[in-house]
Symmetry: C2
Subunit: 589 residues, 2 copies
């Protein structure tokens, strides 16, 4: 079982650890210290060693900061975690701060005039610049938490393995030559694990959920790479495949290598740790630019798209087995959210191809569904009741692709308001799925299409409509998104999620999610070049929640055709029992 | 008759005038001079005296520049005028330049290394800054065209009249106090005629189409105004109404007044002439900000909205008389575009309330409809044929409101492609009309809704979807728009056009346009604050062009309800003959 439901954080020790940290503050002559939920690679998942925020405060969310001052300790949490934080930290010693409504810079400037320490490996230039602009005096120091964390785990040492060229669709040498030639400087410093893994056609197991390995790299204009990583992770086979143009060095040599750079250096202010910037000698020209692998990584090769399609059919078959089981079992009563998560993971494991789950399954029944990023634990686990909605957002990591799918299921009869909202969310998903648009538009330009049916009923949802998805990499990747804040033009080959939702606090949550590949649209008129989406997720929507009369003919036609395709593609892959369920679940409407 | 169809420009004299201008260049020691289609107030319409571009080149479009060099004269025209310019200028002496694809700065820098003269009254700071950034050496000089234009008309001297407080909904004193208090500086320099007219509740007749008077003003933080304008335009009654807090000065005193400013001065780099900037003494702090009247002017008062509704019913009745006449007359043959424009203006004049037309009526039959901004002249006038589309975009200036409406009409049977396109344009208009959206979004966020039905068929249109409209002021006003480039949040009280279209070059053009008021939306759920539109244009759409089966039920319901309201509101205002036509034209579908 990949997912677990226990919390190892010790909020009861928060006060003691805080007191120890304050002792270090005084010893260091500092007035405060920042503890982010981040590692040097700014990933969504961190190794246990880097989970300093949870260790100190008890808060286990996937983003946040603790700012420890002499007399106050603010825990900065975003909208997803406003409730959770209150249950996880000792409120006598930690003060939750609504972030980013209140920025770190503003809060610190208001609460402390002194000098605040920070670990330069755990913060980006953009973060530090913003705090300085707000008037905060900052000083880079060795991490204070690491000094007091007696049994801090060792850095991860997961083995590196190769991503076969046939699945990647391009050799590492080709990628290195192309990205090297595209640089705006002589050399780029790479710090993002998924960028490095993509570039070198390797994968790893250093953190949960994301099959990446931790490393730093210098990519030179000629396509050669200096890789800084623990040699123990690299087998001879992997080194042989990487070849002589990828030179492996100990991480300890990174500093001298960076100090030795003289030509213009490309650095991403939004992701590279400040520590690297501090190493660059004076007068070296820094070219601020996005990580150069981000966009090419997002433009999937034919082989990656073929792989993603296969992974989604495999995953879709597991989902159908799961939904058939759920429909048979849930109405009998007695199921909990943890039971559902466990069963779903087992169906995925039964494919014998699951390498990891893409993220902790979100399984929210009734009011828990309204918490957009709810992760069930033993403490929160809830029995699934009758006449409720059940929201299940999950995915699998397979060597040929990463999946991410959300379905919302009726357990009994959840009532007319739920059906109205479900139907509008589905209409939004269909509108975005069917969209065709002139080349050059960004996700921002398409985002309203998915919201319009909800807007018409006075509703909306507080998250983006879609995110990029990796190829056996991170389930969330950029640069493209479908969201109000995304100005990145969409291009053929990008994989995106399409996941409108609706959440009524204390009552229910609805989200529906398919993944789609962006493609050149076939010409209808001689008018102009267009793009469109091709859906690669094939799993039925719950027709018991669809108000058929509210659909337009086009929407009904789309849904019937989609369900026909689900049957056609999945029937050869599922059990007899699931097949019977599938036929009934996909009846024409 | 307001509109006229003759062109007074003399392209045959272009070569002679160009030679004279080049003599001035040499005398002045310059290597070039820029002739914009602009006056000191950056209005869409200029007085005959300021029509220097047309006088010099023969080009009569509403935007453009001529850059005269020693051996070349580039005429910069945007996408609307690429064809027209070729017919209007002497191509042996003038070279059309596709603008803004090619910027002035880039073209000049490539064609001339010397010094280019410009009239600082006719260019904004933003324009000059962009050219300098491109490497052009610029020098402000007295206008060279004015030196050689022997019979240049005198500046306009139209009388100023009052806009009654009952129609404005707010006294000038209230507006001046509010806007004065909102300033980011001690004083703002106002140069936009519609801003000054709005602020002082006055109107004028200095240019065609826009009922404004030319003036400059200093608005002080205490709400007092120094107004610089020709005193002959102001009757004693007007001066008495303006009161002692509006101090009228001769325009000749503007320079010394600006030179006398010492405190921070608010100036709009996008609209104020550079000349004013050059007058400010050194060390005066310039606060760059939008013209401070733009946003409050866009937020219409209750009285202005009531006035706009009445103006639109009056105008709608004239439009219905026109459409009834057209349906009876056009199929008999023999009508030309000029006949149609003339007849329509006469129907508007018959209201006895028409003060001006809002702009030159665009009346394009068949392929002429595909030219988005086509203005018929005696040269281009075309007989309206059978089985064609006729696009008519027009509006009236009434003291209670400014109208702007487009309808596309079937003359005979224009065929299935036309009907398909018309239906999709109508679906876009309906989608935008019905939109409700969370407070805070801009026109950019709504723009895709109007395009989606066209996108689905591989089509789109190359103009914005909507613009702001004045209250007996300019038919195009900011700051809000519905367009990809508009980031201004929409607010209750804004009037906007909703005008999707589709154009097939050489074949036909379709555009449908209603005006709408932005309103607080009634709550449906307790979810969140929303805005919506209330349509104020009431004129039937041509049902002969609607593919009824392609409409969703919601779209059909909307169209039937709209037509029922047209009948209800206009029936008391139209002739018996038009009433019979209206009943048939609005039959339920």
């Amino acid at each position: 079982m990949f997912q677990n439901f226990t919390t190892t954080a010790r909020p009861d020790l928060g006060a003691t650890r805080l007191a120890e940290l304050r002792q270090e503050l005084r010893a260091e002559g500092l007035d405060g210290f920042i503890v982010p939920r981040a590692d040097a690679h700014q990933g969504e998942y961190v190794a246990p060693r880097d989970d300093r925020l949870a260790w100190l405060t008890g808060f286990t969310g996937s983003a946040g900061f603790c700012v420890v001052l002499a007399d106050k300790a603010g825990v900065f949490i975003d909208g997803r975690y406003r409730t959770q934080v209150k249950h996880q930290v000792d409120l006598a010693h930690f003060t939750p701060v609504p972030w980013p409504d209140v920025t770190l810079g503003k809060w610190i400037a208001e609460n402390c005039k002194g000098t605040i320490g920070f670990d330069p490996w755990l913060h980006t230039h953009a973060e530090i610049t913003a705090m300085r602009a707000a008037g905060v005096t900052l000083k880079p120091v060795k991490n204070l938490v690491d000094r007091i964390w007696a049994d801090q785990p060792a850095p991860p040492a997961g083995a590196v393995f190769l991503q076969p060229d046939e699945l990647a669709g391009k050799t590492s040498a080709e990628k290195r030559a192309e990205v090297g030639a595209s640089l705006a400087a002589e050399v780029a410093i790479l710090t993002l694990p998924d960028s490095i893994c993509w570039l070198l056609n390797i994968r790893g197991t250093d953190v949960a959920r994301n099959p990446v390995t931790h490393a730093f790299a210098l990519l030179h204009r000629d396509g050669k790479v200096d890789l800084f990583a623990d040699a123990a992770k690299y087998s001879d086979d992997v080194l042989a495949a990487l070849g002589p143009d990828v030179r492996l060095h100990p991480v300890a040599e990174l500093e001298s290598a960076v100090r030795g750079l003289s030509g213009p250096v490309q650095l991403d202010a939004a992701s590279a740790p400040v520590a690297l910037r501090l190493m660059l000698i004076e007068n070296v020209k820094i070219v601020e630019a996005d990580d150069p692998c981000r966009l090419p990584k997002a433009l999937k090769t034919e082989a990656e798209i073929t792989g993603a399609r296969e992974a989604h059919l495999r995953d879709g078959a597991a989902m159908v087995e799961f939904l058939a089981w759920l429909d048979e079992t849930a109405p009998k009563g007695g199921l909990t959210e943890i039971d559902v998560v466990t069963k779903l993971e087992n169906f995925r494991r039964a494919t014998n191809a699951l390498r990891e789950i893409s993220f902790e399954t979100i399984c929210g029944s009734g009011p828990n569904g309204a918490m957009m990023h709810y992760r069930v634990t033993e403490d929160s686990n809830r029995a699934i009741g009758m006449d409720e909605l059940l929201l299940v957002d999950s995915g699998g990591q397979y060597v040929d692709g990463t999946t991410d799918i959300t379905r919302t299921i009726a357990i009994g009869d959840p009532g007319d308001e739920a059906r109205n909202c479900y139907t509008r969310v589905l209409q939004g998903l269909i509108a975005l799925t069917r969209a065709r648009w002139p080349v050059g538009l960004s996700g921002r330009d398409l985002d309203p299409l998915a919201r319009f049916p909800l807007w018409l009923d006075g509703r909306d949802f507080n998250h983006g409509t879609g995110h990029g998805v990796g190829a056996f990499l991170s389930v969330h990747e950029g640069p493209q998104r479908i969201a109000r804040i995304s100005e990145v033009p969409l291009e053929a080959g990008m994989i995106l999620s399409n996941e409108p939702g609706y959440y009524r606090e204390g009552a229910f949550g609805i989200r529906l999610e398919n993944l789609m590949v962006t493609e050149k649209a076939p010409r209808i008129t001689d008018d102009r070049d267009q793009l469109c989406f091709d859906t690669i997720t094939f799993v039925p929507f719950d027709l018991r929640l669809v108000l058929v009369d509210a659909l337009s003919r086009d929407e009904r036609d789309w849904l019937n055709a989609y369900h026909a395709k689900v049957v056609e593609l999945l029937l050869p892959r599922i059990s007899k029992k699931a097949a019977a369920w599938l036929h009934s679940a996909t009846r024409a409407i």
